[in-house]
Amino acid sequence: MIKLACRNLWKVYGRRPGVYFDTAGYRIDPPALARRLRDERHIPAAADVSFEVEEGEIFIIMGLSGSGKSTVIRCLSRLIDATAGEILLDGQDLLAASPKELIQIRRHRIGMVFQNFGLLPHLTVRENVAFPLKTQGVALAKRHARADEMIRLVGLDGREDAYPRQLSGGQQQRVGIARSLAVQPELWFLDEPFSALDPLIRRQLQDEFLRLQRQLRKTVVFVTHDVLEAVRLAHRIAIMKDGFIVQVGTPQEIVLNPADDYVAQFVADVPIARVQYAADILEPLPSPGDHPNARPVVAASANLEQVMESLGNDFSAATVADTDGRPVGIVTLNRILQILGRRGGTPSGRGQLPGGHMKVVS
């Protein structure tokens, strides 16, 4: 079910951005309109952005700084007002909401995490987490009880009375996460939540995020400039450049089948083994007399990195099991090396990869 839809969204900065969107004509040729805007000293920060987010999905918007990704997530929550387009939450157009309705939507249905945490410096951890409830007028005892619950959820119990300045960056972002979840929102927006953190802490919080999401099943829009983070967390990724979305797809689609050179360069750092799964390179079980358990057993959803880890130095093949634990085939080291070897060659050869993988499946 589609939870959040964004249709033909434009955000233009400049002297008179409105005049370009008087009629529906702007939908005809977006790239030409963007060129014209730039020529006439306007900046299309978000241009003709359209996507749909399924309920419970993790949708990641990725791009370099200035690509428009932060603009889009801010338009979704109407922290900035879009110039044109539609944003539909359960079919209701957010852009048409009155200020009063908007406040209600934010109070009850949206939670957001910010790059620099956005914690209120004069409030304790507990008061910060309880703040969204305070704006709704929830009684003190009740909102503090709820806040303590959220603080436990993110593993910060014991620090309820600390002030933000007394916490490390990672801890501060845990508070930010707890606060964003305090009102049990349906939509969970995260704007580069882990970019300000050290690599080690970032990894920890990514795990934490996945754990929470498995538990809570929110509809997530997540903005990042870190490809590895996106590939690790996303169900689907949208890549933005100069205000436009250049490609939307699963991590595998984007890495293995980049839409253009820009995307290809962008994802060049992603190890292929991370987006190829055991199921993709399955070979039939050798013979009926085979002992599947003599080899390491891996899940069909394991990626090749994980498969290689379980192969270690001693095995040259692993048994692949389905969700019920029944062996359905094997993956061999030879096959893995073959797949990985193709990527390492000439960059232009990258586009041919999917063909190879189709062959295996058949």
Partner: protein, 692 residues
């Protein structure tokens, strides 16, 4: 450097021509009186017309303000001294810790023992209400400016002007509108103290991080909630800093306003003591003001620092917070302090102990001691004064051509000597132009000309041309036009001669301040110990109301330019020290390492790496020094200096509002010309050095 020498030569030629022509062409030497427009008369008339219309309204305001003032005064004088002392000490401790407590305790005990209790309580009630008024008004305007771009763009230059116009000039219209009396002092203080609050409010709100602002919105804040729960608390450290600055400004102004609205307060006490030339008493009462100001500064800064600590401030903030009592405990402690104080006071009445008057003899001893010192070291003090006067001050004021006599310099200014002077000057200027830059050569030449004819002897046309050219060179056409128009205004207003006296006094004070300040700044940057000492001295100098500086200087050197000069330097040297030290300390370590690796000696590093890098910052310090000196100029005019300051004072005394306001405006314009030129120069240097 392929600079076209023509404009520079032309400039030099124009100055020489003007100097030569002044004896031939009378209008060149002095701006003719016929060319003056009766601006001050018009201003006076316009103000009188406005006052006639609006007087009832302002008088009502003044009446309304009288009530809380009287009420607070009665309350504070009714509260027994021990109660007040203990309670204040507790507040000081809660706000800023032990040192603040000791200072406050000492201050109040001293006031009590020295017998200035009633006066001090009157002053405190005045200051409190003024601060409250200024804080509320300042906050309101700050928020308005933050919300509305038009208001911001109007308010910015107005605040600029308000901070450059000498405080005395404020008094005149306020006096007209509100009449005499304590309330005038109150209003003048509030008006003077509001701008820092406006600025800090605006700054604080503008600096709320966007993440915090957006977090507030996403949490579903309604506009009111967003403002009071998110914006204001986040801006709080800056707001509290604003309160601190407002407090200090109100305090400085209270003493000045005693001149018009003096009643039984401490400012009046100091003023009348100075007027009676009773130095013992003026020292004792001046000390009250200085101590009160320092205590209040500590307490308000402590409050600001505390919230700093709560919001990610430095380690020092954390230390302050460690001793804090909770709100409830503080209330109990306060009740305890009040009861203890009440018991003390009852006991003292019962046993008829009065602390007052214990220092009765002190004032006489100070006077006697002072008389002894001045007579014993008369030779030294007079020698110091005379040598500075003849070799530094007078040449700048009336020029070498009139100062150099056999009596003072030991030789007369015979034609060969004159020829030698000009030859040397020309050689120095040419050498500088050849090896440094045309600008440096021209600067040397112009300074030489000024020294020869004196600031007051320089033909007005030459000054106008020079200043405008300099403004153009540093800041392009906008600054040049501003400088030209301002100077024409001063000429038309007939204030030129007075203005040049002010310029001379200011220039001498500023030059000396810079020499002393830069030297001390270099010292402070080189040694952490020195830096700590200097910081203490600077803080103290900056906290004490300007007025108090006059007392010790006056004691030793009597009235006159020299005393005024010293008082100005004491006050204006602070920014020169601070900015120099800061500029030197922020030179990137990588550059110093690179220089060291190349084998530079310490002095080479200082002169060739650090100072050029710190130069823009030092220029800004000089700018501040000039503005400080301008502010002090008017106060120094109380000890008999001439110039615009004196004009303002006379305008005040003669109740000639037009003259006072025009003189004040002229002084402000001079300050602003210097400010614009120096800021442009600093910006140019910064761009050239790539520090932005």
């Amino acid at each position: 450097m392929a600079e076209n020498p023509a404009p520079f030569l032309l400039l030099g030629a124009a100055v020489i021509l003007a100097i030569l022509a002044r004896s031939l062409v009378p209008w060149m030497a002095a701006y003719p009186a016929d060319w003056v427009m009766p601006l001050s008369h018009w201003t006076g008339a316009a103000m009188a017309a406005f006052v006639d219309v609006s007087k009832p309204f302002f008088r009502v305001v003044s009446l309304v303000l009288t009530w809380p003032l009287d009420l607070l005064q009665q309350l504070l004088t009714w509260v027994p001294a021990p109660v007040f002392i203990l309670l204040s000490a507790l507040i000081a401790w809660q706000a800023a810790g032990w040192r603040s407590l000791m200072l406050t305790l000492f201050t109040l005990l001293y006031i009590w023992v020295a017998g200035y209790w009633t006066q001090s309580m009157n002053t405190l009630s005045l200051v409190s209400i003024a601060i409250l008024l200024a804080a509320v008004i300042g906050f309101g305007f700050g928020v308005w400016a933050y919300r509305n771009f038009t208001v911001r763009s109007i308010l910015d230059p107005v605040l600029d002007l308000m901070q450059t116009i000498p405080t005395f000039a404020y008094l005149i219209p306020i006096l007209l509108l509100f009449g005499f009396g304590p309330v005038v002092g109150l209003i003048a203080s509030a008006v003077f103290a509001a701008p820092p609050m406006v600025r800090n409010t605006l700054l604080g709100l503008q600096r709320v991080p966007s993440d915090i602002r957006e977090a507030g919105l996403i949490c579903g804040c309604a506009p009111g909630q967003q403002f009071w729960w998110v914006d204001v608390p986040s801006a709080m450290p800056q707001l509290k800093l604003g309160i601190n600055q407002t407090t200090m400004a109100a305090f400085a102004m209270i003493i000045i306003s005693a001149i018009i609205g003096g009643f039984n307060d401490i400012g009046w006490e100091v003023l009348s003591n100075i007027r009676r030339a009773n130095f013992g008493d003026s020292i004792l009462s001046g000390l009250v003001i200085a101590l009160l100001a320092m205590s209040l500064d500590r307490i308000t800064l402590g409050l600001a620092g505390q919230s700093d600590a709560a919001q990610g401030g430095g380690p020092q903030g954390g230390a302050v917070q460690a001793h804090r009592l909770s709100r409830r405990d503080f209330l109990f402690a306060a009740i305890g302090a009040v009861m203890l104080g009440a018991i003390c006071s009852l006991l003292m009445t019962r046993l008829s102990i009065t602390p007052q008057g214990r220092l009765m003899g002190l004032s006489e001893s100070i006077n006697a001691g002072l008389a002894y010192v001045t007579s014993t070291y008369a030779v030294f003090l007079n020698g110091l004064k005379a040598s500075l006067l003849y070799f530094a001050i007078l040449p700048v004021k009336i020029g070498l051509e009139r100062v150099v006599t056999p009596f003072s310099w030991g030789f007369a200014l015979t034609p060969p000597v004159i020829a030698a002077y000009w030859t040397l000057l020309a050689a120095a200027a040419l050498a500088a132009a050849r090896y440094r830059s045309m600008t440096a050569g021209t600067a040397i030449f112009v300074i030489g000309c000024f020294l020869y004819v004196g600031t007051t002897g320089m033909p007005w046309l030459a000054v106008v041309i020079l200043v405008t050219a300099c403004a153009y060179r540093c800041g392009g056409w906008p600054v040049a036009i501003f400088a030209l128009v301002s100077q024409v205004f001063i000429l038309l207003a007939g204030q030129w001669q007075q203005a040049m006296i002010s310029v001379y006094l200011c220039a001498s004070a500023v030059t000396l301040s810079i020499v002393i300040g830069v030297a001390l700044g270099i010292w402070g940057a080189a040694s952490d110990g020195a830096s700590a000492v200097l910081r203490q001295v600077n803080d103290t100098l900056q906290t004490i109301p300007q007025f108090v500086f006059l007392i010790p200087v006056l004691m030793f050197f009597g009235v006159g330019d020299f005393t005024g000069l010293l008082a100005i330097i004491l006050y204006a040297v602070v920014p020169a020290i601070r900015y120099t030290e800061h500029g030197l300390r922020q030179v990137p370590a990588a550059q110093i390492e690179a220089a060291t690796a190349m084998g530079c000696t310490r002095s080479q590093i200082l002169w060739q790496v650090k100072l050029p890098n710190a130069f823009p910052e030092i220029l800004l310090g000089i700018n501040q020094t000039i503005l400080f000196a301008m502010g002090m100029l008017v106060i120094a005019s109380l000890v008999g200096t001439d110039g615009l300051g004196q004009q303002i004072y006379i305008g005040l005394g003669k109740n000639d509002p037009g003259m006072g306001v025009i003189a004040g405006l002229s002084l402000a314009l001079i300050g602003m010309i210097a400010d614009r030129i120096l800021r442009a120069a600093a910006a140019n240097r910064k761009t050239a050095l790539g520090i932005v």
